[in-house]
Symmetry: C2
Subunit: 137 residues, 2 copies
């Protein structure tokens, strides 16, 4: 299941991409328009900022803005920040590899083989999708 965090984060990014002009977008505006609890959204955008996806401006008339063009923001990056590893098991994760303690030989493990296929097909989708695609132009 996709976490609310990721769902809200994607919606917020889409919202920002659609409203991009000169001034940053405020959390309160996004929260209201997308029906997201504001305090929760605050922490999510903070995560995205720390990861380098968003930039922010503090104080009055502050808010968040994209650090890159929507067409340059790939879902692989966003999903890894919000949801964590794309692989369903650590032993097939490209970025967070970990050996299974119960598995003597990965190459003979049926789960391993299947999960590599799932990972690759999901990765293909995320690599070929940018925030521009999500925001619908």
């Amino acid at each position: 299941m996709l976490s609310k965090k990721t769902k809200y984060g994607l919606k917020a990014l889409t919202y920002i991409a659609r409203s991009e002009g000169d001034s940053p977008i405020q959390v309160s505006e996004i929260a209201k328009n997308e029906s997201i609890p504001q305090k929760f959204l605050e922490s999510i955008l903070l995560t995205l900022r720390k990861a380098g996806v968003l930039g922010s401006k503090k104080g009055k008339h502050g808010g968040y803005y994209l650090r890159n063009a929507p067409s340059e923001i790939k879902m692989t990056d966003v999903m890894r920040v919000l949801e964590g590893p794309i692989a369903m098991v650590p032993c097939v994760s490209l970025n967070y590899y970990e050996k299974c303690d119960d598995c003597p030989d990965e190459l003979k493990c049926s789960v391993h083989k299947l999960m590599i296929e799932v990972r690759d097909s999901t990765l293909k989708v995320f690599r070929n999708t940018t925030l521009q695609d999500l925001s619908g132009t």
Copy 2:
């Protein structure tokens, strides 16, 4: 993340597929050979039996066996039984559809569009993979 339940279930099914002969396979044997807590595995195989994937024989010399040939057991079915819906959000689930309460128009929702693509690509893998593929011939 893939749950241990699903992981253990897949390993057990593979084990059974590989050992298929005339007599059913016992939980204790699978548990020992695959390093799975026996009581936990019992409940998993019970689930698979209730779902019609496995059959069982009670009493001495009892155990579990496949109800169909490995080549007929698709990952779509197994995964739905063990892990639940394949879709990452209910609003794109084929078998467990549910509307999002925060989403006024699904067709305009960026998350919805993305998750449909992910669902379809994952489904493609599961539809094209059988237990025979997992057990490695």
